[in-house]
Assembly symmetry: C2
Homo-oligomer: 308 residues x 2
């Protein structure tokens, strides 16, 4: 078993060691990698630090199983793996609740000026003068992309009493049973007071928030984007941020070009968070548990969460 | 009609003027008050600025109706008013959603370190290192007092997937149908991970969070208190804050003694907000609408929201 360097809690390393005869750690760009991988029949991959492309897969002639420590497995060449009879498993859904709850945390922060209020509460005055707020209830709340996370966000928005609607490539009966209506993306975008984007990266949704669509967004709309940032036309976004017509809240990892984030950060309603939406104790435990279960499943000949 | 000084949107002043023949403004401690009230048949009261006690009621011999611009009407002597055949109406429920949403805003702020993350997001680094969080889902969430607001908080906690339970003087079937169980207060307090207090001020709940109960709270419990602050033994609270065993989040108005708030503010997990929970555009409109409807109801001989 070979493991490109990444982080697990000690108890999970123990579990891994109980499942394999030998464990080798592999580092990115290590000239010894070929030697390290030559006997590996299983590779555990942290795709945030490691690209498991064709050339690396080919360094491991005995490889049968790749276990990805993430939901996203785009950095593993699953097609090439499949050709070579290598199973790839990922970890779906471990952070669903964590991300969905974070959406409402940052939405309510904005609607209720919680950062400012908390700071004021440290030293006073304990006065409500100057605060304005709106409620989630009654707002048109559009969820775009209803995989596990988007689905959960839609359920919660509905529980808050928002007029919740969704667009997704596939219709979701479980949402429609709750009264959450499907709408075509352009029609829905124009009427939303709150938008939450949850597309996975895919050809069809690339540049989803293009210039034309951004121009049509309702005045004072709040756009929450915890999905990859490739969807957005930043020039069009800036035009509306400049006029104070839109609030854009997102968690920033490394996909967004540094000069763009610097340029837009001068607008008060451009709100960047560090990429912490997926972080919770519960998500962390679930992620590692599923990771280990995937290994056990593969060893038993019944792979779980296979993606290729 | 006589109106102790308070604030309404212009359109509501117009509505009031369309309902009465003469409008007089009355200020607290104004020596001319008796003269101003002598012909009043209706008094509109903002109880945050004005105590409508027996002596003031007696200044208005023609008084038939007191309309209170708040849910709480404790500053009006309703018993004396009743004896004199004066109807008192209040405004129940206008801020239910606003307060319930705020509970989850400040809870998620704490669970996800949103203030810190937002500040970090302004200048970077855009890194998740150092963040820890827990989810609402799965936590034992106790709601104490299930009037309109507590009821709504319990529904929302349940929607988030918390193991939600309640204590209230009256059993609430609508909660039990959702699987939210009633428990006796002492048994419930001890097991909660999250506590949200929503008692109205009353003899039975005075000093509810007494020293003995505070000592028994679970380690790392979060106590949210958007109700009046008379319930809490601050010395016992300080003992647990000092050890970092408890988080206390509340919105501070003028009930809490200044030296106590100063003393406790040095603890990071003593989190005071200005009293903004009830503030939202929707609540503000609903409040004024109901206020006017109360006047209309009284004039038609069918008083609404009568409290005496």
């Amino acid at each position: 078993m070979a493991i490109p360097d990444f982080y697990l809690d000690a108890e999970y390393w123990k579990k891994i060691d109980s499942l394999c005869t030998k464990r080798v750690s592999v580092s990115k760009d290590d000239p010894k990698m070929k030697e390290q991988l030559k006997d590996a029949d299983c590779v555990l991959v942290n795709p945030f630090g490691f690209v498991m492309d064709k050339s690396i897969i080919d360094m491991a002639p005995h490889l049968k199983f790749i276990d990805v420590l993430a939901t996203a497995y785009g950095k593993v060449d699953t097609v090439h793996a499949k050709k070579k009879g290598i199973t790839v498993s990922n970890i779906p859904g471990y952070s669903t609740e964590s991300v969905a709850e974070f959406v409402f945390g940052i939405l309510l922060e904005h609607l209720r000026e919680i950062e400012r209020a908390k700071q004021q509460g440290r030293k006073g005055p304990y006065s409500e003068v100057g605060y304005q707020a709106t409620e989630i209830k009654g707002k048109i709340f559009g969820v775009f992309g209803t995989g596990r996370i988007g689905l959960r966000v839609a359920e919660l928005a509905n529980a808050f009493g928002a007029d919740t609607r969704y667009y997704s490539r596939q219709r979701k009966k479980e949402l429609e049973k709750l009264g959450i209506k499907y709408e075509e993306p352009d029609a829905l975008l124009e009427k939303c007071d709150i938008i939450s984007l949850h597309f996975a990266l895919a050809k069809e949704t690339e540049n989803f928030l293009n210039s034309e669509r951004i121009k049509k967004l309702k005045k004072s709309v709040i756009v929450i984007n915890l999905a990859p940032v490739e969807f957005v036309d930043y020039d069009a976004l800036e035009e509306r941020l400049k006029k104070g017509e839109l609030t854009y809240v997102f968690d920033h990892s490394d996909e967004m070009p540094e000069p763009v984030i610097k340029r837009l950060s001068k607008y008060k309603n451009f709100i960047a968070y560090p990429p912490i939406a997926y972080i919770s104790k519960e998500a962390r435990i679930a992620k590692q548990e599923i990771f280990i279960e995937n290994i056990k499943g593969f060893l038993k000949g019944a792979p779980t969460n296979k993606v290729n």
